[in-house]
Symmetry: C2
Subunit: 694 residues, 2 copies
């Protein structure tokens, strides 16, 4: 990420918050002494005026968001599913953009004499001596030659333009953290292999396919003279990377509402969460690809390797750092158990530790956004268990709110930008090419990978699921933030304009057509998400244990369940039971009194419950009910017997970890006594309702 | 407020967030062309370095807050009351300040050539041409001559220094809003007259007493040659205004914990909330006092009148604006009743509307902080009633968290500043004078006003209450924010250093000695806050109805209860019952169906319950219990009879507004049937516990 910080990075994390306020643009290097008292008053007036103007500009955004909320309410009230709040925010943004662009004319009474003076460096801070008084100036960023003329004309429009870094340092972190924190980890882990394949292999494939295709377009444009500036192959690859980050927020909201298959949901959500991180690191690695010498745009193996090294280093560094901060938070909340009595302190601690992950990653030169993602996942897995019920609610609600505000702000800003951004380069060939490339890239990601994955998956990804995933390749916040980050060159400006159109199209058309697509692909809706695991959409029964990636996951899961969970949370078996006998004293020292209590208890607040606390009970009830109702489908669920298949046992434990009665330190073999406590259907409905609301 | 924005105001609201990052300070006006590629890479490296440094600096603050939270936990766990979290945050800040100042030496390898060039204006934005590329610079603020030399020496220290405007635009608003939103309005309104007197008259008196005393000190210092710069009478008055803002957060926390007399609590809290607003507007009016002509520091009647006009205009404008936004929010939440099903949208709307109050006030040239205070009070009074229970919790928790973080951030920053601020001017005479002046000013506020108020109050403010109020005159966040806002001149620097010491002393000594002072003044603790109203601390029974300011308040209350509440909330009587018959159609149109339901209902979610929902039930139970237990004290509480005194009825309605059975549009005469549903003692304890926790 740091390497993409061209000139903008010169601005500090805080200064990045700034609105571009060009009250006037002067560079007077004349040495004249005038009446300084009058000068002071004029400056003060101007400053006041500027401050008021800024407040008014921000107010426009706040009112836009308010309007969006009120309209969303109307839509939700009438159960309109064709337009999501983000799509709506974009429409309002567009409208305001049109008004700002064409309807409002600000009299340019400002002092816009531009006397340029040549300086041989661009320091972060400048001291200017004005009639004996020193004023401090800070670097804002580079301005292209064409913009200089715009500055005088479009002050109003420039004023509503945010510093791009605000997206990376303020708006993206809560969105990404929320994604990690609200991941339904049970389904995520069961499809871990496929998700990793889509996110890593798929994104890289998509990036190169799009990059190559676009390079073809660029060559064509060069041939017919449609290209107005440089456009290198690395630029094409960069474009491929940024449009490979999918953000199916609209689709997922509808999935949640309609209770679409949990595995499909997990695949889409998991992929979109991780490929944001991959695309971000990938794009910064591509920017870092700089062959030495004069010939800076040819291929060079060393530079390529270096880029690859940067990718691996930054990604694994951010991953490790995010995980580590999460673990530290878990340890603190584990040891300061009395903190549970003070939910305010607990929530504040949680918030601060999560924020410090971002800052720590940035300070170490890693990518804060990626670190925050893994921090969110760790927090959900460990820390969440140690929090008091009130803090669990508070933290969920807090990040839900931050996510909501940040997301809608970004989307409404996107709409606004289409009209207020100055250096749009709309090239028909490039745009058509980009749409084709995005389609091809997504297809090259989903279909071949699904085919390969299906070879090893016992629970196949059916073709209608594949079509749905293909269709749900929406582009959103991350793509926008990456493309607006640097709009200095001609190539980047063309990319930005095209990206905007891609986002608009996918959010409105693909997002709006989700329900149609679902019914067209005959994907069942309104099904019990967990029942779905036992009876496939094709009607053929299949055991939920027949998931892929079990071998990789089982190793991790055993380690996590037997060692990490007991050390970091109050759930799980006591360490004395899981560690070898020789580590007895250590185990006793590390085991909390609660763990012993847990040993004999049925109730275990496993964090898999994070999104819907009824999830596990639900599954439990569902099996019972489905067994009762269908009779024939009992073969998939053991009835009071001892499970012989270790895979089955693992999966069942994931789903029913609160039914562990005896833990023996190794793979558990647990007798299922489902039939003893069947949940009434009413409580099932209740939980489902909760799930839909969340 | 705007008029106090000297040069700093030149920075926009967003740019004000910036850390002073002086990576290097150059003003090169030499026109040389060098190798621009190398230059670019160097700039980029510097930018990255600077960004990392900023993240690390902010991380220091986050870790400081984390440490504070963990230590507070220890203190709360051990029930230590001598040190509040804010005092603790200051101590940690001091320690880190010492380390930064004396232990860390950053090698100054930066390029610190300072070539000054004289310019005849200080525009908000500067365009600098660096070897053909244009860079945009924005105005940071003025730098005094002495600072220019410091810049090279103390880069490290300047880096951890925040822009003062960050306090006004980011940290103060949530604190002040929370104060307004969490005001226990029942006790506040019963003591409205006294609170207004202390806040308005008292603060102005205190300001002038301190100003005059300090002017004496300054004259003395001038005589003996201890003054190193200009120090005018307006500066003294300004100092008086800023140190007149009290912030007894420590004391109130202890009051809450120990359940000290509710009226004392209301007087102190109400005064401190309002005098922040008064001191803020007062200080900006003093800055606006500028006699025309050359003789700018003499007395001039016209300028004085103008200042007074500014005070009134800004204060009433902010008040009206804050109230108006609150009412608009109430109307939205009233009409969009189905919004209650979506707590996330509701909370987001509430948050956005409250934030827009701040921005709107700033855009209109009023004071955002003051507007936010009154917005908070209006939101609590009207909007809170329309929110769903979940949103009520969410909004309370959200602003509680923001308040907690902002407050502790300010106090830890205060500690840090003592060592990292560069231009401290510690003058022994001024410091001793200031402590004396603060003492005198507080005494001149409390004692004479209490005497005058006691003339009309039937429920006298006893002398031990007066001593306690005198003692609880802590200075805190607002005083600090006002004093750090402008430290350009010698006088302001001396004020800032002295203010810091005053804050430290009052928070540690007065805050720490609260429990001692309570026992020394024999103020009873652990009493039922509402029982206290019926039996005075002197043991003599007194009716809670014998409060002052009833006549003023009754008019407002009647209007509010009969017209505003029915229009803005779902509680209160239907308008058809309160409006004259001629307005029948209008009334029917404005009355919600719920209001009719309310008419027949016992349960009314009156917003007086905001802090502790059990407040009213509590009172209700308390009277019954106290009547049962003491026997002799039954005269103060009507037992099933009809209240004859209109004052009594008013007060009772405030306390028991959920027992209104029949509303007749005029003053209500309600039969009390307390004895029918006495609350068991257990539930009382439960409520009290809640209250203590909150």
């Amino acid at each position: 990420m740091d390497s993409t910080c061209k000139i903008n990075a010169a601005m500090s994390i805080w200064r990045r918050l700034s609105l571009f306020v060009l009250a006037s643009s002067l560079c007077l290097c004349l040495c004249r002494a005038e009446d300084s008292a009058m000068e002071n008053i004029v400056t003060e007036k101007k400053a006041e005026e500027s401050h008021r103007q800024d407040s008014a500009d921000l107010l426009v955004f706040i009112l836009l968001l308010t309007l969006t909320i009120l309209t969303i309410w109307l839509f939700k009230h009438r159960r309109c599913r064709f337009l999501h709040e983000t799509g709506l925010a974009m429409i309002y943004g567009l409208l305001v953009g049109v008004v700002l662009r064409y309807a409002i004319h600000v009299p340019s009474d400002m002092n816009n004499v531009t006397l340029s003076c040549n300086v041989n460096a661009s320091p972060a801070t400048l001291l200017v001596n004005v009639s004996g008084k020193f004023y401090e100036y800070t670097l804002k960023g580079e301005i292209s030659g064409s913009e200089i003329n715009d500055i005088q004309d479009n002050e109003m429009l420039r004023k509503v333009t945010f510093d791009p870094e605000v997206f990376f340092n303020i708006l993206l972190p809560p969105i990404i953290f929320h994604a990690g924190y609200s991941l339904k980890r049970r389904h995520f882990f069961r499809n871990l292999g496929s998700i990793l394949a889509y996110a890593f292999v798929g994104t890289v494939v998509s990036c190169f396919i799009i990059g190559l295709f676009m390079y073809g377009c660029v060559l064509l444009m060069k041939q017919i003279g449609h290209l107005g500036g440089d456009f290198f192959f690395t630029d094409c690859l960069f474009f491929g990377a940024i449009v490979s980050a999918t953000d199916p927020v609209t689709v997922l909201a509808i999935f949640n509402e309609l209770q679409v298959d949990a595995d499909l949901y997990a695949l889409l959500f998991g992929e979109s969460v991780l490929n944001d991180a991959v695309a971000l690191v990938l794009s910064s690695s591509i920017v870092a690809y700089q062959p030495e010498g004069d010939n800076t745009h040819t291929f060079e193996a060393m530079a390529m390797l270096k880029s690859f090294g940067i990718f691996l280093g930054v990604f694994s560094g951010s991953f490790a750092l995010g995980g580590a901060t999460g673990v530290v938070t878990a340890l603190i909340s584990f040891n300061f158990t009395k903190l549970r009595e003070l939910p305010l302190l607990e929530t504040a601690l949680f918030f601060l530790m999560s924020w410090s992950t971002f800052l720590l990653a940035e300070a170490c030169g890693f990518t804060g956004v990626v670190a925050v993602l893994f921090c969110g996942m760790t927090q959900a897995h460990y820390t969440f268990n140690n929090l008091s019920p009130e803090s669990q609610d508070r933290t969920k609600q807090l990040f839900e709110l931050l996510n909501f505000l940040a997301e809608n702000f970004i989307f409404s800003y996107m709409g606004l930008t289409l009209f207020t951004f100055h250096n749009h380069v709309f090239n028909p060939i490039f745009i058509v090419g980009a749409f084709l490339a995005v389609f091809l890239g997504r297809a090259a990601n989903i279909y071949p990978l699904s085919f390969l994955l299906n070879l090893s998956r016992r629970n196949k990804i059916t073709s209608n699921f594949q079509h749905m995933m293909m269709f749900a390749g929406l582009r959103g916040a991350m793509t926008f933030a990456l493309s607006i980050r640097d709009t200095a060159t001609y190539a980047r400006q063309m990319m930005f304009s095209t990206t905007l159109l891609v986002v608009f199209f996918t959010v409105w058309i693909c997002g709006g057509g989700t329900t149609q697509m679902l019914s067209c692909q005959k994907i069942r809706v309104g099904v019990d998400t967990d029942l779905e695991n036992f009876i496939g959409p094709d009607g053929v029964e299949r055991s939920s244990t027949k998931q892929e990636s079990a071998w990789l996951f089982r190793i991790w899961y055993n380690f996590d369940h037997n060692y990490l969970k007991p050390i970091l949370t109050h759930s799980g078996p006591p360490l004395t039971a899981t560690l070898p006998a020789c580590c007895g004293p250590l185990a006793r020292c590390l085991t909390s009194p609660q763990a012993y209590e847990n040993e004999g208890q049925l109730k275990d607040s496993d964090s898999d419950l994070i999104l819907n606390d009824g999830d596990i009970s639900l599954t439990y009830g569902d099996i019972t009910v489905s067994t009762d109702a269908t009779g024939a489908h009992t073969s998939g669920t053991p009835v009071g017997g001892v499970a012989v298949n270790s895979d089955e046992a693992l999966d069942r434990e994931l789903a029913f970890s609160d039914h562990e009665l005896v833990i023996r330190g190794t793979r558990l073999v647990l007798p299922m006594d489902d039939s003893e406590h069947p949940l009434p259907l009413d409580s099932r409905r209740h939980w489902h309702k909760n799930e839909t609301m969340s």
